[in-house]
């Protein structure tokens, strides 16, 4: 066991983890932040996407210890109280989710895209979301939502 400290959604947290503990397990099991999901075991579905120091990262590909000292944002940290983040609002408005399982990862990935590309095209969005699998929506409305959400983030 080793001690790990990080900021999660603006809050300083410390925990004891095994060397092999993945960041996603630390978030879900230790911190009880279950909005970050696990959809695969080969780092391909993106359901576990969070921000680590502002970058979108698949939290199943990273050890908790590697996030020591980092600032982590999860889906739970995006809204301002009950006021949704523009990207969350765009997913709701454009029906960019059905079962909701891929959604936290999609939104975290999308906000990272929007942060560096204020007006992504459909092709930009489809390319960027290659690492996030959705089995429900056929991506059609997700793409719409991300384009609208990125624009709304500039407002």
């Amino acid at each position: 066991m080793a001690t790990v400290s990080m900021t999660i959604n603006g809050k300083q947290v410390t925990g004891d983890v095994e060397g092999r503990t993945l960041l996603v397990d630390f978030l879900r099991e230790d911190q009880r932040l279950t909005g970050t999901h696990v959809g695969c075991d080969t780092s391909q579905c993106g359901a576990c996407t969070v921000h680590v120091d502002g970058k979108a990262v698949k939290s199943c590909t990273m050890l908790a210890l590697q996030a020591d000292g980092a600032a982590v944002t999860t889906i739970e940290g995006l809204a301002d109280g009950d006021v949704l983040h523009p990207m969350q609002e765009a997913f709701r408005e454009h029906h960019g989710l059905q079962c909701g399982f891929c959604t936290p990862g999609m939104i975290m990935s999308a906000t990272a895209l929007a942060a560096r590309n204020a007006a992504p095209t459909e092709a930009d969005v489809r390319h960027h979301l290659e690492g996030n699998l959705c089995r429900c929506t056929g991506y059609h409305n997700i793409v719409k939502a991300v384009m609208a959400g990125a624009r709304a983030m500039q407002a």
Partner: protein, 787 residues
């Protein structure tokens, strides 16, 4: 003035706030006090004798609490997993129905078959324990494909040496053979409907809990139908009466059929929790999901269509082999029979149809219903052969379809394959779709592609499905061991807000919004004041769950009936308040009025009076306002439509791009167009996935070759285009909302449309070599290069 949150409005979903903020509660998000973790030891062989299991080393792993094997379960009286549908072979014999123990006994029959379970304080310890188990196997010859099953060189079950589950038929074979022999024109195709892995993004999970104080068992599980699981597991596997067994299916991350079935892990965690007196949690990882979630499709078919010289269809003969896998999953036997052969008339007047279906056991994961279940396979057969016929006769494929459509004035229409279609307008959806894709402009687009060195093709799929599953009397006579009605209870609270308890289950379909809209429309309360409760057998009296596009057609009809009762009672209360006769009371937009007077009382006042019954005429009226209804459909519903796909192929690489995809669907009345469109998009994506990308492959030794997202090609955002979807409305005439169901249409229609487009593009350069799904670039390139 219509409500902005009533029927027909694209109300934004009530459930989305919790999902976009990460506050959904999926099964793996739940943790019980004192919880342990289960890991399953699974057979690495497709077929093996289990010679012995030494648990000592596993027991010695730090944190391991218990180890159980198939023998332990058998000794405790745990029964096998039941099959919910019995098919009879053409000779009258019931299907072969081998036992399916939750943990294998004596033999393991597919890679992933659960052999033992290790329960430990942590997930890691449970996995370490499972790895430490010493299981002595003697590998046996594997039956890994339909071909191997038919060869009968090895048997999956010793007492079923033929590997045949049933040999079933529908129609008069001799009569159809004669019609085909006498017909001036025939076309024949051999088709493979590729095996698929459903891949709901949320892996399966199950938590068993046992209350030592009350003797109540609770199972939290990723299910599309918790009451069905309670019935199957309680009554057949574990022998727990309903009042002592609660099954909760909370937020569920997609199902597509794969979460209908009762799985071994559910029974094992429920049983083990009571045994060790602690909660037991199991969550599948994706690798386990590939190995053990029931797969879909896997048919091999030969089809012959006979026509006259004008292309009028005379007879259709379909011979199919279907793979059941190693055991009969819950509804597996009905998929290649009553959900398949009965749809072979398609949208056409084909007068004579014969279907012969053999189902085979193999040493592979069980196969069962996956989005569409039987109907995509039927549509694929019909629409591929119709397109083939158009090419053979050199008739435009749209025109050939029009010549054979059942006409809109022919309903109700009795097909030769048992179903009575209730309503439809097939030429209407064909016209909508051809207009949407600019069919007239296709030749010019094809020429433009050619000039750019590309091959362009177009393909139709005029599909029909039987949804709203199902009239209990009909399915009962066909072998279903359950009724397929739905229940719903409307509870009006004293302040006029409403809770609706439904036996339908949402795992992405948005019931919390759609059902609330139906209630808002009817009672005049806003959708914010309606909550929909589902997925918990302790809250909802009974229910058959969600599959077969049945929620609104059957569950919504139960809601409608319950609302009738609520309105009837509310009218009596209103009559009492307004001192009128209830026959004179009218109810509209949330207000009760007395005809010909200015008296009125709002729904909220009636609700309050129901619970504050001062001056109530107690002889005539009980306090309270809550009503329940069960609805058993009179017939299936028949959503239908036309999807058209246009592809462009790069002949240098074989890469197929979907240039255009349009859908024109008839789902009857529509409550929430936004949600319906989303369902169609998702279905099309799965259908395109089947046609171009997805294929589940087993090696000859029965090893799963496509066991991860690195080997199984799930469609990604950049593999798919936008879809143009539209609807036509011919209301269902026999259910109160006039709805037909929309959940499966895309997955049913799309594969044939895509493959007809691909084969059309290949033909434009003279390549007629058949190509099976998935039409990957390498297959297309090989076809183009004569390889």
């Amino acid at each position: 003035m219509p409500r902005d949150d009533g029927i027909g409005a694209s109300v934004r979903r009530k459930e989305d706030f919790r999902f976009v903020t990460g506050r959904g509660t999926y099964t793996d998000d739940i943790n019980r006090y004192g919880q342990t973790y289960a890991a399953f030891a699974r057979s690495p062989y497709a077929h093996a004798r289990i010679d012995g299991i030494d648990t000592a080393a596993a027991q010695a792993v730090a944190g391991v609490v218990a180890v159980f094997t198939g023998d332990d379960l058998a000794a405790a009286g745990v029964n096998g997993l039941p099959c919910g549908w019995q098919i009879h072979s053409k000779n009258g014999e019931p299907m072969a129905e081998p036992g399916h123990p939750p943990l294998a006994q004596g033999k393991a029959r597919y890679v992933g078959d659960a052999v033992a379970v290790v329960i430990a304080e942590t997930r890691a310890a449970a996995k370490a324990g499972a790895e430490a188990l010493e299981i002595a196997y003697t590998p046996l010859a594997a039956v890994a494909s339909i071909r191997a099953a038919k060869a009968a060189g090895a048997a999956v079950f010793d007492d079923i040496p033929s590997n045949n589950c049933y040999d079933w038929e529908l129609g008069d074979r001799a009569d159809i053979d004669a019609a085909i022999a006498a017909a001036p024109q025939t076309v024949t195709l051999s088709l493979v409907n590729n095996r698929l892995v459903p891949n709901a993004m949320e892996p399966r999970s199950a938590i068993g809990d046992y209350d030592t104080a009350t003797g109540e068992h609770t199972l939290f599980t990723t299910s599309q139908n918790p009451h069905v699981i309670r019935l199957l597991m309680g009554a057949f596997v574990l022998g727990i009466p309903e009042h002592k067994l609660r099954v909760v299916a909370p937020d569920v991350g997609g199902g597509f059929g794969s979460k209908i079935f009762h799985y071994a892990e559910e029974a094992v965690v429920t049983w083990a929790a009571a045994k060790i007196r602690r909660p037991v949690k199991w969550t599948s990882d994706r690798s386990e999901a590939f190995l053990t979630d029931a797969h879909g499709r896997d048919h091999e078919t030969t089809v012959t269509l006979a026509m006259d010289n004008d292309g009028k269809f005379l007879a259709l003969k379909v011979i199919t082999d279907a793979n059941m896998g190693a055991y009969l999953s819950t509804f597996a036997p009905c998929v290649p029979t009553y959900l398949y052969a009965t749809l072979l008339a398609g949208q056409y007047t084909t007068p004579k149809i014969f279907a012969g279906v053999n189902a085979w056991f193999t040493n592979t994961c069980p196969v069962d219903a996956y989005r569409g279940a039987g109907r995509p396979e039927a549509t694929y057969v019909v629409e591929r052969i119709v397109e083939e016929a158009a090419r053979h006769l050199n008739i435009d494929p749209a025109e050939l379809r029009r010549r054979n459509f059942i006409s809109p004035d022919a309903f109700p229409y009795q097909t030769p394959v048992a179903l009575e279609y209730d309503s439809g307008n097939y030429a209407g959806t064909l016209a909508l779709a051809t207009k949407a894709i600019d069919y007239d402009g296709f030749k010019a687009r094809q020429a433009a592609s050619k000039a750019a060195g590309k091959l362009r093709g177009i393909g139709f799929s005029a599909y029909i499905e039987a949804c709203g599953i199902a009239p209990s009397a009909v399915v009962g006579s066909l072998g279903a061991r359950a009724g397929l009605y739905e229940s719903g209870a409307v509870r009006v609270h004293p302040t006029g807000s409403v809770t609706f308890y439904t036996g339908s289950h949402s795992h992405g379909q948005g019931h919390e919004t759609t059902f609330a809209q139906v209630i808002a429309e009817r009672l005049g309360v806003s959708v914010e004041n309606v909550d929909v409760v589902h997925g918990d057998t302790s809250k909802v009296q009974f229910g058959m769950g969600t599959y077969g596009s049945r929620s609104l057609a059957v569950g919504g009809s139960a809601l409608s009936k319950a609302l009738d009762k609520v309105e009837a009672k509310a009218k009596k209360i209103a009559a009492h308040l307004m001192e009128a006769s209830d026959a004179d009371v009218e109810f509209k937009d949330g207000v009760f009025t007395v005809a010909g007077t200015d008296k009125s009382v709002a729904f909220g006042d009636v609700a309050l009076t129901a619970y504050v019954p001062h001056n109530f005429p107690h002889d005539e009226l009980e306090p309270g306002l809550e009503e329940q209804a069960f609805y058993d459909p009179k017939n299936f519903t028949y959503p239908a439509g036309c999807h058209i796909c246009e592809v462009e192929i790069d002949p240098d690489t074989g890469v197929i791009e979907i240039a255009n995809f349009v859908a024109a669907d008839d789902f009857g009345n529509i409550v929430n167009p936004m949600i319906v469109e989303g369902q169609v998009h998702g279905g099309i994506a799965q259908g395109v996935g089947q046609a171009l990308m997805e294929g589940c492959v087993y090696g000859e030794d029965g090893q799963l070759v496509t066991g991860s997202y690195m080997d199984y090609c799930l469609p990604r955002a950049d593999n798919l285009p936008n879809f143009k979807v539209s609807t036509q409305v011919t209301p269902c005439p026999h259910n109160p909302l006039g709805v037909k169901g929309c959940g499966e249409a895309g997955a049913i229609a799309a594969p044939a449309a895509v493959m007809n487009a691909v084969t059309d593009a290949l033909r434009s350069v003279g390549v007629t070599k058949p190509i099976d799904m998935p039409a990957t670039p390498s297959k297309v390139w090989a076809a183009l290069n004569g390889a």
